[in-house]
Symmetry: C2
Subunit: 592 residues, 2 copies
Amino acid sequence: MPSYTAPVKDMQFVLHDVLKVTEQDIPGYDELEADFTSAILEEAGKISSEVLQPLNVVGDKEGCVLENGVVRTPTGFKEAFEQMKEGGWTALDCDPEYGGQGMPYIMGTAVGEMMVSANMAFNMYQGLTHGAYSAIHAHGTDEQKAKYLPKMVSCEWTGTMNLTEPHCGTDLGLMRTKAAPQEDGSYKITGQKIFISAGEHDMADNIIHLVLAKIEGGPEGIKGVSLFIVPKFMVNDDNSVGARNGVSVGSIEEKMGIHGNSTCVMNYDEATGYLLGTEHKGMRAMFTMMNEARLGVGLQGYAQAAVAYENAVIYANDRLQGRAVTGAENPDGPADPLIVHPDIRRNLMDQKSFVEGARAFTFWGAHLIDRHVRGGDEAADGLISLLTPVIKGFQTDKGFEYAVAAQQVYGGHGYIEEWGMSQFARDARIAMIYEGANGVQALDLVGRKLAQDGGKHVMAFFDLVKSFIKENGGNEEFDKAFLEPLKTASKDLQAAGMYFMQNGMKNPNHALAGSYDFMHMFGHVCLGLMWAKMGKAAMDALEGGASDTEFYETKIATGKYYMARQLPATGMHLARIESGADTVMALDAANF
Amino acid sequence: MPSYTAPVKDMQFVLHDVLKVTEQDIPGYDELEADFTSAILEEAGKISSEVLQPLNVVGDKEGCVLENGVVRTPTGFKEAFEQMKEGGWTALDCDPEYGGQGMPYIMGTAVGEMMVSANMAFNMYQGLTHGAYSAIHAHGTDEQKAKYLPKMVSCEWTGTMNLTEPHCGTDLGLMRTKAAPQEDGSYKITGQKIFISAGEHDMADNIIHLVLAKIEGGPEGIKGVSLFIVPKFMVNDDNSVGARNGVSVGSIEEKMGIHGNSTCVMNYDEATGYLLGTEHKGMRAMFTMMNEARLGVGLQGYAQAAVAYENAVIYANDRLQGRAVTGAENPDGPADPLIVHPDIRRNLMDQKSFVEGARAFTFWGAHLIDRHVRGGDEAADGLISLLTPVIKGFQTDKGFEYAVAAQQVYGGHGYIEEWGMSQFARDARIAMIYEGANGVQALDLVGRKLAQDGGKHVMAFFDLVKSFIKENGGNEEFDKAFLEPLKTASKDLQAAGMYFMQNGMKNPNHALAGSYDFMHMFGHVCLGLMWAKMGKAAMDALEGGASDTEFYETKIATGKYYMARQLPATGMHLARIESGADTVMALDAANF
């Protein structure tokens, strides 16, 4: 059975040594003193390890069960959810006006990583509620906010997002769910939605569905889509729960993983719904949820790799098999532990350097959101909008890849469900698909975000890399190990962008055929930048006389690994991109 | 539900256009006329599609059940196994002296691909029997051969291989299973073996276990390991099945995939066993099985990718979602099929170019085995010995990667078990682990095979690449699209080998830390060579006035894709290798 120990020290390093949160001019960040964040992270780590993690395998084995229209969550989930609510964990970064604790999003992100590592399927019930909370908070009327938010902040009521229909996923313009306007200003919603995570379950008194539908007589396609609040139970004027609304679960899906979360077919049969935001502008309101959700999914990617890595390290230290090629390291034992073998280390270092790099990248992303939302910084908003598809697409691809790599360390035992390593891989797999499959993220990045606002956000990103290199050059060791590889990778990325500009105009396929590789290159450059920042922060700490030299030296060594062994991937991606669309588009559909 | 259509035409292309089997001076190859092989492949395709494939999902859902010491295989498996036997499919490439059909191994390989694509878990019952057959055929006494082989050729009796114990997998020197010599020349075998595929089931009258054990008083470690034949039921002098032997199944494992195959814990309690081959030389005899098994597992890798790809193409043509960026291609429909989108094509072309390249590589490998076994060519034996870890390691890593990529084409539906795409990925996952985890393959390649016989096999491989390039240069289009990328990739591979030679002597970690990357580079160069050969064969066919121009043009286009978009990976692997072991070995075990 796997275990989980929260990486509090690594998180503190990112918050305080790298991002230096208390020095940032962002409202609320002045409170994030090291002792304060450490106390929160220790507590979050405790509930994650002691309450959520032991339920992870239980959730996988039992799954959710649908009986007579009611979904039963796995044994222990309900009690754990109560503990989450009581501990105030669902309210951490929510608006105090509605019962939240008002902490910055970066703290919600750090705590979120722990809970996802401990139990991804479980954490989705709260995660989706948070997304729905954000959409109502951003687009709801005062009345709607007063009605729904307090109970959603406390997770007495949970939330969902309803986009997909059987015949349409990415292409939401094909949507068939209808909204018929009623005299009282409400709508009757009718249609079927699929893949609705946490669509029905037994852990909340009410479920607030956010549903995309087309108002009858509205514009065709995506321009006629509106967003509605559709509660499972009607909410009375005194905010108590009333009669059942016309929404029900049709079935739940058998999936590859995240068995502990109920993935529902939801049937809306003249269900009462309330317009959220503006008529026909549903996509805009939905994107409030989706951007947050995409960051959250990018977090899921590396968080699964993180817990899988942690368990791979334990096994690699425990399992005795073979001898070190340079001479026995455990001469009194029957064999040496796996971790002496270079290829086991190569595998573990790939995982470790990715996980820690992705953590820094994700925390940085959360910090950009805080900078925008709390500090009104529009440039930060532009940058995170550019980086969101990278965080989502790159980190979930790599997160799955490394969850699989961690499983590999276990040999045959990795394939046996009893050991729990298969679950990390199976659970991580969904993150590459939902909230926009990774191919769609790549399309979003290259087709939209690159050119957004005249390309100013991508230019800002390159400036950031350039100025970091300029400001921190001069130390021979650091230049060679960190700055030079970063410079090369960044140049590769710029060359790819240049290729798109020069060739995409005459044939957009030249850009889109390279979009996936571009997303991966971009991810590598971002993690390269993060490692350069972490390497610098660790060197500064050592120079400043930090006592825990081993910790900081390990950071530098791990960074060097990433720069030497991961960043060279950008050259391969560039070659793929520069080969253009011709070989990609050559075949007639019938000849595949 | 997925479907399967056997790629008969693609296989015929490899056999006849590329390998030109009838022109090879190998006994038995003269019979492999196009009509003959086509008839066999068509029939094998039929039983694969119609009988085995429909049971694939059944096997996954039902799994195997252990009740009162008996393992029940999934519904329909037993009947299908009878059909396999009746059709003579289990005897295809076995020795006619024992009831086999005596066909070359390459035909067994082609047919094997189909059956693995159709139903991997099912095919393992026969595959393991074939491995055990080969070991007895190579190392058994005449009496042993006469006793066991006829029933194993017909699969009335099936076989297993028993290596792993709870505390030892790769490091078999730690083995504890004991063999006590008896006065009649037999042995009493006592111990526990785990991960025994097809260890117990209800489809055969007897199961012939090949078991590694240590004869009491023999040498320590791996040098004291011998191989034994341990039948489930004793075999009487008239070859009828007699009393139950002291071997029983303790439990079966819950696994990530291949649920249709029973993975057993086998308990040997003074079971009667018969020495196979020489005392204390068990590893040598076992390697007869393992090399064949490793090729078979390499085949499983791409065969799962092949069927997953086939289904991804169907979905990409069916599913309407979005519009081509260059203008609607299905203007009368609500949307265009997925296959118009460049990134979907990029994904499908990655899969297609790998699958077809790996098929050619594997068939070539089988041809080398035939050249050695039937033709006595020792150089061919040396070459396939070098390439075996590449076929196993590279092809199973990539096979899994592309089964996952095929699943991705389905979006959310790929994650739902009902659609069957998850099973391909889950089943393919085991191939990276069993018969020597891929890290062990890399170690075998770099630590043993490269230097084997003074490095002459790897030199022979490079000569082969060089002479192909030399003999086929001069056509500008072919040079640019095929030969130049092949030359570059091959140079990268040579540079990596050179790095190992120059640095591995002073510190073997410099070689072993790069072993995994080397295995992947090697795989790419092999597939590059295969695509160059296939490209040339297709061009020759077109020049020769072949009527099916579209087929050959598709081959050329797919080859160009591989050369342009897959081969550049060698540069990345070389950079990783040349960064050496320092960053890999930097951390103390406690700092991971």
